[in-house]
């Protein structure tokens, strides 16, 4: 295989002038059996890429909603290996939809970079976003990832300087992830004008697709952010449903699908997009 599924996926979306919808859920939340069927349901509801959170005991960049998701998943000892296993299971029925693992470095470090990259790639993982691994610390890791067809996904933040944007874009592949606000996942309101300005600044350096996440909580924010970005990542708004229905796991899928579908139609009817491009 040459390259991951991410580039063809985004090329395709671009050709159709569609904005990618990327749901984030924590693998193993609220229990392991929920995850793979949920991934299929999300694709059905219009997800273009799936971000699968790898639970970690110390999720420093996450707000309370995703912290608790990690805690629920860890109550079942959902490990990085288990998450890779879920992707493998998902691939039995879905060969197209790119899957990105999102998490923290330590579980990968313990497994070993080489071993992780081989197993993840073999299972059908396409990209890896390790929140606490900036490009400065990632040199060796990037070589290992790219020789295994895994795209390293890096973050850009409102505080990222122009110099660093250049640096991040020069090593990123798949897409870059713009964190739309100063804060943790699930935090307050995002400033759409600020996002639009930053998109221009990033696009001055790169052609790589830009996904925007943190703070996308409903169809309306999804549509307005989607009008200026290549992808919207929605996390806490979905994970909230896992919390709300944690003791009735059978109901979660319906709730998550409802949120995603409303975002999908808002994105698709976002006429502003065509105009602004």
């Amino acid at each position: 295989m040459a390259g991951s599924r991410l580039k063809p996926c985004f090329d395709n979306l671009r050709a159709q002038q569609r904005t990618a919808l990327i749901p984030f859920i924590t693998a193993g939340d609220p229990k392991p059996e929920v995850t793979v069927p949920m991934m299929h349901a999300m694709v059905e509801a219009g997800a273009d890429v799936i971000e699968l959170g790898v639970p970690f005991s110390d999720p420093m960049a996450d707000g309370p909603v995703i912290q608790k998701a990690s805690e629920r998943a860890l109550a079942y000892h959902t490990s990085l290996r288990d998450v890779i296993g879920m992707v493998k299971e998902f691939r039995k029925q879905n060969e197209q939809t790119p899957v990105v693992l999102m998490g923290y470095l330590n579980p990968v470090e313990i497994m070993g970079y080489e071993k992780f990259a081989q197993e993840a790639s073999a299972a059908g993982v396409d990209g890896v976003l390790t929140v606490d691994l900036p490009p400065e610390e990632a040199e060796d890791v990037m070589d290992i990832f790219s020789s295994n067809n895994l795209d390293p996904i890096f973050l850009i933040a409102p505080t990222t300087t122009d110099d660093r944007i250049k640096k991040v874009c020069s090593v990123a592949s798949g897409f870059v992830y713009y964190v739309s606000l100063k804060g943790v996942t699930g935090a307050a309101n995002l400033d759409i004008q600020g996002v639009a300005d930053k998109m221009k600044q990033i696009r001055a350096h790169t052609d790589i697709p830009i996904g925007v996440g943190f703070g996308i909580k409903d169809a309306e924010t999804a549509a307005s952010v989607g009008s200026v970005s290549d992808a919207v990542v929605v996390g806490s708004a979905l994970v909230n449903k896992f919390e709300e229905f944690a003791d009735k796991p059978d109901n979660i899928q319906k709730e998550v699908v409802a949120v995603l579908s409303s975002m999908r139609s808002a994105l698709d009817s976002g006429m502003e997009k065509a105009a602004s491009k």
Partner: protein
């Protein structure tokens, strides 16, 4: 001797420019903080050479903290142990009763010079929280302290002290509700309020430049000890002993001696109920390398890389990681890391109290417990300097409860 121990400490200048001590240290944080850490590194490197800053720091350490702290020859205890002469570096006599204030004074001054008006801190036992609240009061800054909900229960009097000092104490209910979770929460605050907020980390952990910066603020301990030891004994000590939680009091003592290769260095971790029980807080003795709280170092973790709970009678040593410089000192064999149990620490706590009339902190009692084992193996004209990192008043309730006494 393996190859690593050939590392040359006579020219020691770590960390490198990107904050690494060999494979350890570094800057493993989310992108939002990268600019703030760069700003902090620049400010710290600038002001540590700025005469006005250094003069104000020296004045504050002398007249507010009460430095230099004495180096005290524990003659009776040394005689009783029948070996090397034990000298205690009396950080317990500092304002607020521990070494922690050396660092909070330095960082709060840096915050002020950088124009940040709000400081945040994490705390476990409450010692660093109290030291942060103290300097915030002294410099007229807003102060928010994150503390695990469990620890708030265990350390009620320190919580009240912080409140008296005008700080806001925020209970942390995520994860294990202890120090590591307080650190996570402080990081989350910092990411959110990065424009106006200065995060005072309490030990030599965290992303670059914290491990180097906190070390530099604590190194006053070792510089003084070196001079005092020369003045009192006419020579350098033969051994240094300090307890290691995150490792700030230890590195503060060790750092100025790293190039003195005849000085043996011992860091003492908390073995809790015993290393073999798994209930301990000894990442250097029984953990393995990983990445947590912004740096690569030895950690207590399970096979999946999840951080596990620690156990120690001393809240200040109850941390699953350790400063990255200690990881490097261990691998290169410049320092030896050992561990003593809760019971051994309690024994030493009582011994020093009864024999020298000094009530040591339970953290420091770990260093004393190891000195107690080490001294009899050495000659009477040899010298051990033990870092008495704090006083034990805060711990009397813990000791009483442990011994079944109701106060």
């Amino acid at each position: 001797m393996n190859q690593k121990s050939a590392f040359d400490y006579s020219q020691y200048n770590l960390p490198d420019t990107s904050g690494h001590f060999g494979p350890y240290g570094g800057r493993f944080v989310s992108e939002t903080l990268m600019a703030a850490l760069e700003e902090l590194r620049e400010a710290y490197e600038h002001y540590l050479k700025d005469p006005a800053f250094l003069k104000e720091l020296d004045d504050t350490l002398a007249n507010y903290v009460g430095r230099p702290s004495p180096l005290y020859h524990a003659e009776r205890w040394s005689r009783e142990l029948g070996g090397a002469q034990i000298y205690l570096k009396r950080e317990d006599l500092n304002h607020t009763g521990a070494h922690k204030i050396n660092n909070t004074v330095g960082q709060a001054m840096l915050a002020r010079y950088m124009g940040k008006k709000r400081i945040i801190a994490e705390t476990g036992a409450g010692q660093h929280g109290v030291a942060s609240a103290t300097v915030a009061a002294r410099f007229g800054m807003e102060c928010v302290v994150y503390m695990g909900a469990e620890d708030i229960q265990r350390q009620a009097s320190n919580v009240f002290r912080m409140k008296l000092l005008g700080a806001k104490v925020v209970p942390v209910t995520s994860g294990s509700k202890t120090l590591k979770d307080a650190l996570n929460e402080a990081m989350r605050d910092w990411v959110t309020n990065v424009d106006n907020t200065f995060y005072i980390i309490g030990t030599v952990a965290g992303p670059h430049p914290y491990p180097a910066m906190v070390r530099d603020f604590q190194a006053v301990i070792g510089r003084e000890a070196k001079e005092q030891c020369m003045a009192q004994t006419g020579k350098l000590p033969d051994a240094l002993v300090a307890c290691v939680g995150g490792g700030s009091n230890a590195i503060g003592l060790f750092y100025p001696f790293l190039a003195d290769k005849d000085v043996a260095i011992y860091g003492v971790e908390a073995a809790g109920s015993g290393i073999e029980t798994g209930k301990h807080a000894a990442p250097l003795c029984a953990g393995e390398p990983g990445v947590l709280h912004g740096n690569r170092t030895y950690l207590m973790e399970d096979k999946d890389g999840q951080i596990i709970e620690t156990h120690s009678i001393s809240a200040g040593l109850d941390y699953p990681g350790v400063g990255p410089e200690h990881a490097w000192l261990k691998d290169t064999e410049r320092a030896s890391y050992v561990a003593v149990t809760d019971d051994e620490a309690l024994d030493a706590f009582h011994a020093l109290t009864l024999i020298e009339g000094i009530i040591p902190a339970l953290e420091s009692s770990h260093a004393l417990a190891y000195a107690k084992k080490l001294a009899p193996t050495m000659k009477k004209d040899q010298v051990i300097v033990v870092n008495l990192s704090g006083r034990g008043d805060k711990d009397i309730h813990t000791v009483a409860a442990r011994e079944g006494i109701t106060l």
